[in-house]
Amino acid sequence: MQKEIIIAGFGGQGVLFGGQVLAYAAMDTGKDVTWIPSYGPEMRGGTANCTVVIADHEIGSPLVKNPPLAIALNLPSFDKYESLLAAGGTLIVNQSMVDRSAQRNDIHVIMVPCNEIAEEIGDKKLMNMVAMGALLSALPEVSVKDVEKALEGHLPARHKHLLPKNYEALKRGFEHAQKEWDKVPA
């Protein structure tokens, strides 16, 4: 088993942390995992992305050209990863930040209004966790519970009071994606 996930968005959208939480969850369930960010000046205010590879064997390349799974938190990331996604793959798109629908029909595009859901929960910063919840609907190797445990285990102590809202964000994202999946013709 090996799954590659790219998470992309603007710097400040929690792209790198979201990937780390996923990596922790994978590690805590005994899998091999790599997390690699785009780094350097491109992080400053521009788009950021990280690649997470989860496997049950020694991982080779930490980077992937055509990922089966991706999260696009903004329009530039949607543009980029819609074209790069492997056929049959799933792209989670933050609907709040894009103004178009999907163009490819050989991939699954799950639109999630991450900003609005996060604001409903009461913290717009949770938008990355909403997207993460949605991603988990297409990543059976890691459960929502695993990510919750990872958050509990690795969130800095000063942020521990935010755990319930993070759980809520994961749940809402997952549920929203489930509904979208239900619309997909069998």
Binding site: V33, I36, Y39, P41, I59, G60, S61
Partner: protein, 371 residues
């Protein structure tokens, strides 16, 4: 110890601390800065020496000074900064004191970029500083290996009174992987019989220098270094093999290029191609003997690097034309994707070259055609 998710650069820093690092001197440069940043907090909290130097020149000479006292000392930098350190490296080699230097390599030459590259293989393995001197060069391909080799590097440096360099590309410095840290080792100052730590009235004075004005003395020094290097070659070669037992095509790649090749090898195996991977962990000393053995088994070698073919020369020197050697590289800070290497494997598998064409020339022709 349980596994934790460690970023490569920070893992190296913590591993060095646990190996008994007493002094760190460095200068900020991407993509290694996390080593400096981490140690700026960690070393003072343990009462150990940390200085952000005025330049890499300053840093390496602080390392030189501390190394002369016999403590465990290191610096880290990235390609342009390591170029500046080459002066100190040559002096450290000539003075025969142990020191550890980490190069988190980036694309070059010149200012280049900050993306992952293996462009300093030749500088690390074959030279860099002036004069005749050997050095140990370790090339980790994962965060765990970076930790293990950091610890090892101090032991090797002390055992052979030699510079030990870790070369890793920015990808390994920046990536996070689950890894296990060694136990914290208490600082143990060894009473080396060469260390200039002041006589304290108990012994004859000592001098540490790299100057041998009489050429015959310098020649003796060069030969002493070479004889010590022979010991290193005999005892310290390390490499890892994957799917090698029945491999007809053998890929040789180190660091990230090696692990990207592993992905390609797995896919190729699924498609029935008998391909394996030899991943040198010590690129100096180079696993010459093992590679030479494999010439009796492989019908072709493929060298993969994130440069224009630097280790390629060492492979060709070892293979000596007995088997065709091919090359696939991505210089400039580009990390190859597995499918690129897979395509090379398929190409070699379906149409083995006669070996008449120079591997680098052939690669350059193919690369130029693509662009």
């Amino acid at each position: 110890m349980p596994k934790e998710l460690w970023k490569g650069n920070e893992a190296i820093a913590e591993a060095a601390v646990r190996a008994g690092l007493e002094a760190y001197f460095g200068y900020p440069i991407t993509p290694q800065t996390e080593v400096l940043e981490y140690l700026s907090r960690r070393m003072p909290e343990l009462g150990r020496a940390f200085v952000q130097a005025e330049s890499e020149l300053g840093a390496v000479n602080m390392v030189y000074g501390a190394a002369c006292t016999g403590v465990r000392v290191m610096s880290s930098s990235s390609s342009p900064g390591v170029s500046l350190m080459m002066e100190g490296l040559s002096y450290i080699a000539g003075t025969e004191v142990p020191a550890v230097l980490v190069n988190v390599m980036r694309g070059g030459p010149g200012l280049g970029n900050i993306a992952p590259a293996q462009s300093d293989y030749n500088q690390a393995v074959h030279g860099g500083g002036h004069g005749d001197y050997p050095r140990i060069v370790l090339a980790p391909a994962s965060v765990q290996e970076a930790i293990d080799l950091t610890v090892l590097s101090f032991d090797l440096a002390e055992k052979y009174r030699m510079i030990t360099m870790l070369i890793l590309d920015g990808a390994i410095g920046q990536m996070m992987e689950p890894a296990e840290m060694p136990e914290m080792k208490p600082v143990h100052r060894q009473d080396f019989d060469w260390a200039t730590n002041a006589t304290m009235g108990k012994r004859e004075r000592r001098l540490l220098t790299s100057i041998y004005l009489n050429p015959l003395d310098e020649e003796q020094t060069n030969l002493r270094l070479l004889n010590r290097w022979k010991e290193v070659q005999a005892n310290e070669v390390r490499y890892k093999e994957y799917f090698i037992d029945d491999a007809e095509i053998v890929i040789v790649g180190f660091g990230t290029a090696g692990r990207v090749a592993l992905s390609a090898v797995r896919t190729a195996r699924e498609q029935g191609i008998k391909v394996g991977l030899l991943r040198p962990i010590t690129v100096s000393p180079f696993p010459t003997e093992r590679l030479s053995q494999l010439t009796g088994q492989a019908r072709a070698f493929l060298v993969t690097e994130m440069n224009m073919g630097q280790m390629l020369d060492d492979v060709q020197l070892t293979v000596r034309g007995r088997v065709p050697v091919e090359f696939y590289g991505r210089p400039g800070g580009v990390v190859p994707f597995p499918d690129e290497i897979l395509n090379e494997i398929k190409r070699i598998n379906s149409a083995p070259t006669a070996g008449h064409t120079d591997a680098r020339d052939a690669w350059l022709t193919r690369m130029t055609a693509q662009v």
